[in-house]
Subunit: 391 residues, 2 copies
Amino acid sequence: MLKANKHYLELKNSYLFHGIKLRVNAYLEEHPGVELLRLGIGDVTRPLCPAAVEALVRAARDQGDPARFHGYMPECGDENLRAAIARHYEKFGVKIDPEEAFVSSGASDELGDILSLFDPASPALVMEPAYPAYVDASVIVGRRVITLPGTRENGFLPLPEKGLEADLIYLCSPNNPTGAVYDRAGLAAWVDYARARGSVILFDAAYEAFIRDESPHSIFQIPGARECAIEICSLSKTAGFTGTRLGYTVIPKELERDGVNFNRAWVRDRTTRTNGVSYILQQGGLAVFSPEGQRQLEDNLSVYRDNARDLRRALEKAGLWTCGGQNAPYVWAACPVGIDSWSFFDLLLREKQIVATPGAGFGACGEGYMRFSSFASPEVVEEAARRLERL
Amino acid sequence: MLKANKHYLELKNSYLFHGIKLRVNAYLEEHPGVELLRLGIGDVTRPLCPAAVEALVRAARDQGDPARFHGYMPECGDENLRAAIARHYEKFGVKIDPEEAFVSSGASDELGDILSLFDPASPALVMEPAYPAYVDASVIVGRRVITLPGTRENGFLPLPEKGLEADLIYLCSPNNPTGAVYDRAGLAAWVDYARARGSVILFDAAYEAFIRDESPHSIFQIPGARECAIEICSLSKTAGFTGTRLGYTVIPKELERDGVNFNRAWVRDRTTRTNGVSYILQQGGLAVFSPEGQRQLEDNLSVYRDNARDLRRALEKAGLWTCGGQNAPYVWAACPVGIDSWSFFDLLLREKQIVATPGAGFGACGEGYMRFSSFASPEVVEEAARRLERL
């Protein structure tokens, strides 16, 4: 008899965002026709920039033209796109080789896939509150998960503690869900810890484009990170690719453990287990990294930044403690005293017709908090801010 | 110290098609300007059908239009596409629920990803010669691989043997690389074996569109298969999506082992580990399954079918034993007596300027054979056939 992977049975019954959808649908069935203000799931609402759309349309047309048709793409990514990603890193003063940049179908897919590089016996460290897939992807392969609490006291930016035994370290900055951003000293503390112990940091940089102060955009801005980190990034939030799909991963050539060079192993994994990312999508990605694309996507980013500012202000006017929303698209707010996350979720849904994400869904220390996403339209955010102020 | 997945070190040094590329490049450096007749890697050469191109272009435009922009897609696939896949199965007399059809980024990606459902302790059976990724994807997770030899005597269609202990069974029909196709009785023997033992069949149906006789297109045409099989399919060869990327996977709702229901586990896996397949690509897929798309793609299929027929005839005229090429895009030919696969590869490359794929690259019992792909242009195939006849 075939043995199943029984770790699936250890997963909690339903995924956070699925649970929210069920509650929202139930509410809408009771209250047909009500317009909800959706600040829940971190999906973008603004269309792709014109340069990306043009490139996608052109590439789609190529696929119908015998002279310009593209078959299998290189498994690790189109050469030009890998070079464009490497050039993108120069903006942060980081030098990477194009062969260190791998094109992916998106950060969420890659965050699961990349785990294949590591022995499931090595425990993972997740700083809670955290994107639920970090924990679940580890549970699926039977990897033990250690958690480190983010709290109001540490600004939701935990640092390595004495006695901590973490081999695989998930770091997300700007953070989802808290919007907190590590400064250089904070990231350097993690890099030092990882180098001393031989750990590897999985750095989720999906929100780097929202940083406007001196905080690092990339873990590779920290000396020594090339020997202990892999960075996973995405065009989803930067360029609105949530439904278009494209991401990239940086694996330095010198990163190895146990005699396994992770860059070479990932080349071998991708050439074995994929046939590359769609030509059409990679052409769209190339346009995003063009000077024109980079200029255009600032329009969208500035809308979301203003939204985040407005949400934060409204929540503060309502007397709630907040975090994030300045270098991040998420505002993390404490629930009113004595109300837990899911009760506050229900209150916002039923009394304000606002959908937000209960902090408890991101792990135990998210209890008592709520995540507000800035990826809605300015009109929705303006109305939500008006209602939140009067909480 | 983080432990690496040391199974990567057990993989053979380089992937088959990468090895071919190196030899071809070396030849071209010695002989600049030579035009090679490429019948090697199974990449298609004909553009997508007009219906698919139009849909891709329209969907790319949608992503630039605020009113029609699409964010995150459902993780298991667009509802309409899942329904279209279910309708596609009706052509074979197979009834599946749309919730049993999962949209994927392509069969090669899915063949690796799906292994997550099974305990790595359960051995996999691969019938050699086989697509190299079957073996490699198992090696990467430390799964033991049992092989069953395809031979000229069994028509490269091995059947379950007494004493065989296979839990996870890879079946590929029409076969890559041999072009051999199981009939109902052959597939029924495997379904009976799997049901009796509690094994699960991973049925790779990527070439089903090439079947023109009564052979089953789907494992689900065999009674009892719903309790023991998962089918993995692709638009790569059917609709020319090798560089566009789209596939689908069918997991019956009743399939379970060890208390794990594989359909529900896969829903949980996809919702955790992916954010769905690109809206643009899924729109292209929908057009492929439209009546117009299905009519149009017959044009491409018939070119490839004629190519396969011509290659087979030429190889037979040259006195070589052949298999496949009738209900499959590949022709599998015995090398001339006394010549091994790689020597025949070099001979074809150097004396005929033809690139084919050495059978030895598909496992030990592929030694002494060569795979010829029909996915080239008719002009290339015509010239190659002329040269092969005079071998």
